[in-house]
Amino acid sequence: MLLKLSALILFTIALMLANLCLGDVSVSPLEALQTVFSAGTGSGSATELHDVISSIRLPRLLTAAVVGLALATSGYLLQALSRNDLADPYLTGVSSGAALGVAFAMLCKFDFQSIPLFAFAGGIIASFFVAFLAKGQAHYGLSVAKLLLAGIALSSVASALITMAMTIFGTQLMAQGLNLWLLGGISGRSWAELIPTSFYVAVGFVAALATAKQLSLLSLGEETASSLGLNVGRSQVIILAAAVLLASSAVALSGMVGFVGLVAPHISRRLFARAVRLQLVTAGLTGACLVLFSDLLARTLNASQELPLGTLMALIGGPFFIYLLSHSLERVNQ
């Protein structure tokens, strides 16, 4: 297991280095690292390279890693909480709430820089609303079935509201901006956006690691978990809050990057450890690798125009996931 984990960590570092080195201007890993740790003074081309590496590529690759880690961990938490392999981070209404928040910000002509904040707030408010609707019997906390259904219902209402508002009050430019945001992407992310969001992701990730035992107990069903002394309602709320914080942070940074939150937990469970805490770490790293790799291809495959990140994610992750499923069917069926 230690070997597999080390290999995954090394692979993540290698992908980060590749993201740092490759692009319109390609440099060697050594040169890239020297540039990162240099002060950025010297000749014109050296300063330009320093700007490209330290101010554009480094925050972008860290954004990719943070978004991947956040979405994958959030997906893992929600799949474990709902005991549903199809659950993804957008299940709890984070996506629809965030989209509503962004639409609101655009319609009210707020500054473009404030859009992540509206996405974050929208996602959190929508999730709390869904959690409120999913309140089950008093001592069992949330009803998982209600959570799934309420999330789906809220998504439909939110998308209808967005379409209505955009049709009545919006301009074509606003609609285009919203669509672009919905497609997801991390181009142009700066340190100013990355640093505060990373803090929220770190809080969410630590909370997720702290709830590992609660996740194991809940995997036996609420009835058994409570008979083993678990306060089911409280644990569900903490896990859900961590998942929502992680997903909302990712959405605020990157818009709607789909797929990674669904497949990364599965890939991690099939390739790596059983213990929940290690699974959380490997799921997070797998998510980071997926987004890093997709973003690398998005930047480098087509020189004239950057490809959409979400589309590439589905193109890469989908076949790999199908391969994994077809090679581990006997384990799933058992």
Binding site: K213, T224, R274, A275, R277
Partner: protein, 281 residues
């Protein structure tokens, strides 16, 4: 310590409406070291009663107390240190091993974040596995177990909990003859260790072998909620007339000369049941 139900009525849903009660007016005492077997036909609310005793379902009326303290006033971990509950069917995640599953039985004794077992806890978990015939299966994934092995694993998890009382909902449902007898032996051992056991058993013969008390649940002729038809020793409760009235089945009781236990042989559907079937037709 006594597990006590007083005029307990249980219903599902959040409104706790007495009109929707599944069971009503249940009063019972289960002392440490005693075995109570709950009997009754399908749909008579046996599992519902078990959920009420296991703090899974709040009372619509009445109360359940443990050592004189209302179970809903107890901290949930404190309750789980005293009462273990093995439901009829357990959801088992495929990636979990038998050892990991049984070790979760230690949860009520551990800090909320801790999963590490102490040396004595490890010995306890392995002892519970061995007692339930799961020796050498610790590293097997739970989805590779047969239904009977899964059932034994969940019973081992309850044993690892080191409770004062164990509540078993149809623990023999998936067990073959041999393991049914093993389970009876385990229950007798628990009794000898002064642990109280409440179990739902359909097999009257197994019931007669271990029960100190039998609670017979049934519905009144008009339907509605089930309540206690009889509560007492095997000899007083498992009477052919009483069983006929509740199950609508004629039984013959013969004495086993070797064990001295009564053997219950269902013969046929009783006349009243045949008549009611004809009426329906």
């Amino acid at each position: 310590m006594i597990l006590q139900a007083q005029e307990l009525a249980l219903s599902y849903g959040t409104k706790k409406n007495l009109a929707d009660a599944i069971v009503t007016d249940i009063s019972l005492n289960l002392e440490a070291g005693q075995v109570l077997v709950i009997q009754g036909p399908n749909g008579s609310g046996k599992s519902t009663l078990m959920k009420g005793l296991a703090r899974q379902l709040k009372a619509a009326r009445g109360s359940v107390s443990l050592g004189g303290k209302d179970i809903w006033q107890m901290n949930i971990a404190e309750f789980a240190r005293k009462i273990a509950y093995v439901p009829q069917k357990l959801e088992l995640p495929w990636e979990m091993t038998v050892l990991e599953l049984i070790a979760l039985g230690r949860n009520p004794h551990q800090k909320w974040w801790s999963t590490a077992l102490t040396t004595s806890e490890r010995a306890l978990v392995h002892g519970a596995m061995a007692r339930c015939g799961l020796d050498g299966m610790g590293q097997r994934r739970v989805n590779q177990l047969s239904e009977g092995e899964k059932q034994r694993a969940t019973i081992a998890m309850a044993l690892a909990q080191e409770p004062h009382f164990i509540l078993l909902d149809e623990p023999t449902a998936n067990l073959d003859f041999r393991y049914q007898l093993e389970l009876i032996a385990i229950i007798k051992e628990l009794k000898a260790q002064n642990i109280g056991v409440a179990a739902i058993l359909h097999d009257l013969n197994l019931c007669a072998r271990i029960a100190d008390q039998v609670l017979l649940l049934g519905k009144a002729s008009g339907g509605g909620a089930s309540s206690v038809v009889a509560l007492g020793s095997v000899q007083t409760v498992l009477q052919p007339e009483q069983l006929r009235a509740v199950f609508a089945v004629d039984l013959t009781i013969v004495r086993d000369p070797d064990s001295g236990c009564d053997i219950y042989i269902p013969r046929s559907l009783s006349d009243s049941h045949k008549n009611s079937s004809k009426d329906r037709a």
